[in-house]
Amino acid sequence: MSRPRYKLVVDPIACDGAGVCAELLPEMISLDPWGFPIIHGAEVPPGLVDLARRATVSCPRLALTLVRIES
């Protein structure tokens, strides 16, 4: 059984560019000039999954979600 794989998804309507996600997960998220997140990489590396989950929990707008990749 292989371990689950995840990707990060931003809801651009809910997101207000608060930038907490980029503070918590700079490995995968940078901000554009308006403060909106740009996600790097299609899949969250296994070692970063916990940190990614932490970032989704801390998003003030609940705009960032960790979505399981079906395989």
Binding site: A14, D16, V20, E23, L24, S58, P60, R61, L62
Partner: protein, 388 residues
């Protein structure tokens, strides 16, 4: 109407205060700490919300501190509630702590406390379930956090024994200033709020602040507050005798035409014939009280007679100082027959005295006071005080 002091619903809470001193202090202290933590929680919520950050203080730090402070705050509120219930015991139950406006002791101010507690619980529970309930519902409930703050403050001002204490007032004033500043900051800088709502919230904040300040000025900060908020004169006299210096509003219901007699009303009628210890016997008498003199000194006199064959006179005089709208009693003296002694303890309607008559005797007086007439009745138990 004769009311047993300890079961008088309007008073038992404060009487408990006199009895369970440690719990009572814990209640008061945890209440003050809770309002400070609530203020800090709210301010950090604002700091996070307006998105204030520095190199060293990213936004997620504001959020985390905000969340952790809120948990600490609810812990203190929990201690505050539990100690209140355990201390007051009869009149305030756990149900009163969550269902507002049904307690018999200062229903409005305790009710506000319960309401504030409910709001905090709602904010906490919805925050814990944020992902489950979605952003909109969480956001809506979270606005109530702003409402919980003035509610908690009025609760504290209206029901706190500590209100007239300068330190507590200072803490509350500082919290008010800080929270108002934070609120103003939120209204002027925060995003995602239509201008009309900001204006309405600003006006509401000003109105509420003025109302609370006005309320404090005419209510708790003026003398005789606990009297007006539903605590009887006789009870206040008892509370006043709390030697640790608890403040409670004075109850000068008996304007003194003359200083209260410090000698038993029946003095001179009997002398030596004291009942042999140990004994328990009925007693009757009257309570009188002086108005504060120029120096603010107050005297509460419990003039009684033992119902033994010789109707031995027993008089307890409690003296104290009016201070900041309250009375802090410093001492109590006893005259028993022709002997005298001092009050060594007071718990609800029970006064414990130690006299030399002529050997050491402990007297435990259990009193019921008719609050209209000041008539006293009860029992006194005498025992040898030799082991003291």
């Amino acid at each position: 109407m004769t009311t047993a002091l300890v079961t008088n619903p309007a008073s038992a809470h404060l009487l408990g205060a006199v009895g369970g001193t440690a719990l009572w202090y814990l209640t008061r202290a945890s209440g003050v700490v809770a309002i400070v933590l609530l203020s800090a929680t709210l301010i950090l919520g604002v700091v996070a919300s307006v998105g204030w950050t520095t190199e060293r203080w990213p936004r997620f730090v504001s959020q985390d501190v905000h969340r952790n402070l809120s948990l600490l705050c609810i812990v203190f509120v929990g201690v505050h509630v539990v100690t209140t219930v355990l201390d007051g015991f009869v009149p305030i139950g756990f149900v009163d702590a969550v269902l507002p406006f049904r307690s018999s002791y200062r229903p409005i101010y305790l009710g506000l406390g319960a309401l504030g507690f409910d709001l905090l619980l709602a904010v906490l529970v919805t925050s814990a379930l944020r992902h489950r309930i979605g952003y909109g519902s969480w956001r809506f409930v979270h606005w109530l956090a702003y409402l919980s703050w003035p509610i908690a403050l009025i609760h504290g001002l209206g029901s706190g024994t500590d209100t007239p204490l300068p330190v507590v007032l200072f803490v509350e004033a500082a919290c008010t200033a800080a929270v108002l500043a934070a609120f103003a900051w939120r209204l002027t800088t925060g995003r995602s709020l239509p201008i009309a709502r900001r204006a309405a919230a600003g006006i509401a904040a000003v109105v509420v602040t003025l109302a609370i300040a006005g309320f404090a000025a005419v209510g708790p900060l003026r003398p005789r507050w606990s009297h007006r908020s539903g605590t009887s004169a006789a009870v206040l006299a008892q509370i006043a005798a709390h030697f640790a210096g608890t403040t409670a509003a004075p109850a000068a219901t008996t304007p003194a035409t003359a200083p209260a007699a410090t000698t038993p009303s029946g003095s001179g009628t009997s002398s030596g014939q004291l009942p042999a210890v140990p004994f328990t016997t009925q007693l009757t008498g009257r309570q009188t009280q002086t108005s504060p003199d120029a120096q603010g000194n107050i005297q509460i006199t419990l003039g009684m007679h033992l119902q033994d064959a010789s109707t031995t006179p027993l008089t307890i005089v409690l003296t104290g100082q009016e201070s900041g709208g309250g009375v802090s009693l410093s001492s109590g003296t006893v005259t028993y027959g022709t002997y005298s002694g001092s009050v060594i303890g007071l718990n609800g309607g029970t006064v414990t005295c130690s006299v030399q008559a002529p050997g050491p005797v402990n007297l435990v007086v259990q009193l019921q006071i008719n609050q209209q007439s000041g008539a006293l009745s009860g029992t006194v138990t005498g025992s040898s005080g030799g082991d003291r």
